[in-house]
Amino acid sequence: MSALRDIVSQGAQMSLVLGLAPLLTGFVRKVKARLLRRRGPPLLQPYRDLIRLMRKDVVLADNASWLFRVIPYLMFAGTWVAASLVPTFGNGLLFSWTADLIAIIALLGSARFFQALAGMDVGTAFGGIGSSREVMIASLAEPAMLITVFSVAMIAGSTQLAYVAEFMGSDAVGLRVSLGMAFVALTIVALAENARIPVDNPATHLELTMVHEAMVLEYSGRHLALVDLSSQLKLLLYVSLIACVFLPWGTATADASVAKLVSGALLYFGKLTVLGFLLAVFETSIAKMRVFRIPEFLGAALMLALLATLLRFVSGSL
């Protein structure tokens, strides 16, 4: 009976993240538009876009290889598996012990690895520029993320997200300087990894600024839909990750009652709304950076994360 329950709640979590991801993107876009005094597209526009793309034929470049056609599925699978390992409304889900935070980063790394390959497959200059910049950003963002995870894991004594979330929700945490630094570092990494302003602007097609868009320029139809869905899932993943590590209140435990689960889900919606709103405010109040300013921005994250880890070594309580 409990096995069935576990499967149901894990399935619910997976379909929830999949279903919510476009909504979060739509919400951020809407808030950004309102802040700029535009009306903006409707909240459900990302769903419509996905459905429209799904219905269209794929126009494939002549010399695209089989890898180009497989990559959208690989990216989607990698991102979805990673997203299903992050606790959302409930904690201690069935598959939570399958992989820890380091593995989640590596899964996202696999998705990015293939995405960068896709950019180079057709053999155009745009794809190359996107892939080349993407790996430059990733080569700074990924270590920053890993070291942030080190600092959080050393505080919580575990790299297992379920236990980290449980620990962060308990009274044992208190206010710590190192956690604050880790939070800032994680936020910077999340902005970079999700191709948000100030690192990248997915809304433009201007060759000087774009990274993510340049890589997926040759995709169309269902392939593009999957790529878009993967990046929406990734945004949701990062927002849920920040929510689950730094705002762990209200997450239901594994054996909680249905009422608890529902309240956990409601609180999770609340957290997504708040964080999505903050993201939109941040993005409208800052300008896109030049490509070669990005290393400084991400270097700050790297330093903060390293400082947080060292602080943890020097003092057990900070």
Binding site: N63, A99, L117, G123, M136, S139, G157
Partner: protein, 666 residues
């Protein structure tokens, strides 16, 4: 079982002179590589059965060769057995690959005799149990591989590579000789006797430094790596695979054997030295790799990175062992050994892939390749697996060993030494950087050479390689996947090695639910490669089937869109150098003193614009060049002695005699 192993080695040694005869026969290479395949598979199976079924049995044998009063001692324990598996698995794959690849050799007489001798030498190093046999086999290994490096001796760069290699190999052997000299001073040459003696802490520390120099120069630790990117690419590709994938592991074996086995309990500062060398080696190696455009050089530099990861694991194991935390030491040591195994798999695979590309196109320069995925589909799949595995991405094997290393790093707050507490997080940061760079590096390698449009006629006319080579590559690729999704089996097989070396083992993994890897406790961390793999495969297939059922599955071919301005010229694509340009701009100015000189002629001038990039190997300039200058200077001065008149010679001899007499008298 040691008898079987020694007989197989003898068979390999017998094949070496046979190679001289066989090289003149049309089917000679097939017979020779077939023989090597047989001998190495026998050795591999023997060692594997020893490791799995009789891990605590130590077998030894003494042969009446070598030094007259000593004989040659051989010993097969868990550590030797494990490294025999690594060496001979690499040997099996390389021989299988060479069955096809070796047929195209222009001058088989320069390769065939040395190849089996080289394999035999590596096996003897791992089996040797006295300092004399060990050093002789070590030197034999260096010399045979040197002969293979200069087998294509008409290219000037290969001759230079051989020269630098010979110098560094001599240096390495010299330091090992000194290390054994120090160890043997109180005990004798036999490893058992050395193990039983108790050298003083200062002596042991000196031995550690010397072994780090000796084994480290063979393995390619920065700053002793300078020869490796020259020598590994110069050899024929199956030998490159062996040199990079396997011989560097024999060097790791030498380090582990002496530091973990022959020396007494470690002191904390040993680990500090190893960590301070290992961490930077990992990051620098891969940064160098990123800057290269020659496929085999990229792979050679990436070997340096992986050696850095292995030595970091070993350094962590030393640190924890020094503080008595055996259970963490076992974790770090197992991580290092697993990475030894993994790297042997994927580096051999990638070198074979580079060999297949070289055979099909005659090119090692990535900027003349492209689009090979269409021409060499099976090679492309195998190399893709190798690239994903070496970039430490799940569900392949490279990820597991790096993950275990990270888990060991996360336990470092348990240490009491402040120096280590500060160094280990920094080393962890360096490893994280190296992992990210490795992914970038292999996106570049694969993307530039296998994807896109062909950049030259040879790339456009490439053809798939032969069946033997493909079998070898696919076998290694399959191992990479199996070791990635069932890591528990491999960790358990390593338990006897870790018990004999650090005195403790990681928790037993087989039997944990669903084959999850749990290094310490489930509340701390766990990883299940099998479930991740199955789960991802299910998600991917679900997405594919849903789309093909409910959405449009039609597909049209058309010219690339490229923002509306497609250019048919393939040189418009990103090249290897342009791909790494952003990273070069971020890190290059510090690490390589990189300079970009752009020449832009005025608007009306017909001259082409030029961009010149200068990269310098600061370690070469700072360490090797001054040594070379000093030696040049000194030899010039001493050279005067060669042209003295007979009277001056007599005076010189007289003065020397007086000086010597004075020295003796005082």
């Amino acid at each position: 079982m040691i008898a079987v192993a020694l007989w197989s080695v003898a068979a390999l040694l017998a094949l070496a002179p046979a190679g001289i005869v066989l090289s003149t026969r049309p089917r000679g290479s097939i017979i020779l590589y077939g023989g090597c395949l047989l001998a190495t598979s026998t050795l591999c199976v023997t060692a594997l059965s020893d490791l799995l079924y009789a891990p605590h049995l130590t077998q030894s044998a003494t042969l009446p060769i070598g030094l007259p009063w000593l004989g040659a001692h051989f010993r097969l324990d868990a550590l030797s057995a494990f490294f025999l598996v690594v060496v001979n698995l690499g040997g099996v794959a390389a021989s299988l690959f060479a069955l096809g690849y070796g047929r195209h050799e222009d001058s088989p007489g320069r390769v065939l005799p040395f190849y089996p001798a080289y394999l035999a030498a590596m096996n003897v190093v791992v089996l040797a149990s006295d300092a004399f046999s060990f050093l002789v086999a070590w030197e034999f290994m260096s010399l045979t591989s040197w002969a293979l490096v200069v087998s294509h001796h008409r290219a000037a760069e290969n001759v230079r590579a051989g020269y630098v290699y010979l110098l560094m190999a001599s240096f390495g052997t010299l330091t090992l000789l000194l290390a054994f000299g120090l160890l043997a001073s109180g005990a004798g040459y036999d490893f058992d006797a050395i193990r039983a003696s108790h050298p003083s802490a200062a002596l042991a520390g000196m031995v550690v430094i010397l072994v780090l120099l000796g084994a480290g120069s063979k393995a390619g630790l920065v700053p002793l790596h300078a020869w490796l990117p020259l020598a590994h690419p110069a050899a024929p590709s199956h030998v490159s695979g062996l040199m990079s994938g396997v011989m560097t592991k024999v060097a790791v074996y030498g380090f582990v054997r002496i530091v973990f086995d022959l020396l007494p309990e470690p002191v904390w500062w040993w680990s500090m030295v190893v960590l301070l060398v290992g961490g930077p080696t990992a990051t620098l190696g891969v940064l160098y790799a990123l800057m290269q455009r020659d496929i085999k050089r990229v792979l050679a530099y990436s070997t340096i990175e992986n050696i850095g990861i292995i030595f970091t694991g070993l350094g962590l194991a030393l640190a924890f062992k020094a503080e008595g935390l055996d259970w963490v030491a076992a974790l770090a040591f197992t991580a290092a050994m697993l990475h030894v195994f993994n790297h042997a798999l994927f580096k051999s695979l990638l070198f074979f892939g580079a060999g297949a590309v070289l055979g099909a196109t005659g090119e090692r320069d990535m900027e003349k390749l492209g689009g090979l995925i269409h021409r060499m589909p099976t090679t492309a799949v195998a190399v893709l697996v190798g690239c994903v595995a070496i970039s430490a991405l799940p569900p392949f094997n490279g990820f597991v060993s790096e993950w275990l290393t990270f888990q060991a790093i996360l336990l470092s707050p348990h240490l009491s030494s402040w120096g280590l507490k500060l160094v280990i997080p920094a080393v962890g940061g360096l490893l994280a950087l190296a992992a990210a760079f490795a992914a970038a590096c292999f996106v570049k390698l694969y993307g530039i050479s296998f994807l896109g449009r062909p950049r030259s006629d040879v790339a456009a006319a490439a053809h798939e390689t032969d069946r033997f080579s493909l079998t070898a590559m696919l076998m290694l690729a399959a191992f990479c996947l199996v070791a990635g999704i069932l890591p528990g089996l491999f960790i358990d097989a390593l338990a006897p090695v870790s018990r004999t070396m650090v005195g403790n083992v990681m928790p037993h993994q087989v039997g944990v639910q669903w084959l999850t890897v749990v290094p310490i406790a489930e509340s701390r961390s766990s990883y299940n490669g099998l479930l991740v793999f199955v789960f991802a495969a299910l998600c991917g297939t679900a997405a594919a089937s849903a789309i093909h059922r409910f959405a449009s599955d039609r597909l049209r071919r058309a010219p690339a869109w490229d923002c509306g301005y497609p250019d048919p010229n393939p040189t418009i694509q990103y090249s290897a150098s342009s791909f790494s340009q952003p990273i070069r701009r971020v890190f290059g100015s510090v690490v390589f003193a990189a300079r970009e000189i752009g020449e832009m002629p005025p608007p009306s001038s017909p001259l082409p614009a030029r961009l010149q990039v200068e990269l310098r190997d600061l370690i070469w300039d700072g360490l090797y060049a001054p040594v070379a200058i000093v030696i040049d200077f000194a030899t010039d001065r001493i050279n005067i002695l060669q042209f003295l008149s007979i009277r001056r010679y007599l005076t010189l001899v007289f003065v020397a005699l007086i000086v010597l007499l004075l020295v003796v008298a005082l």
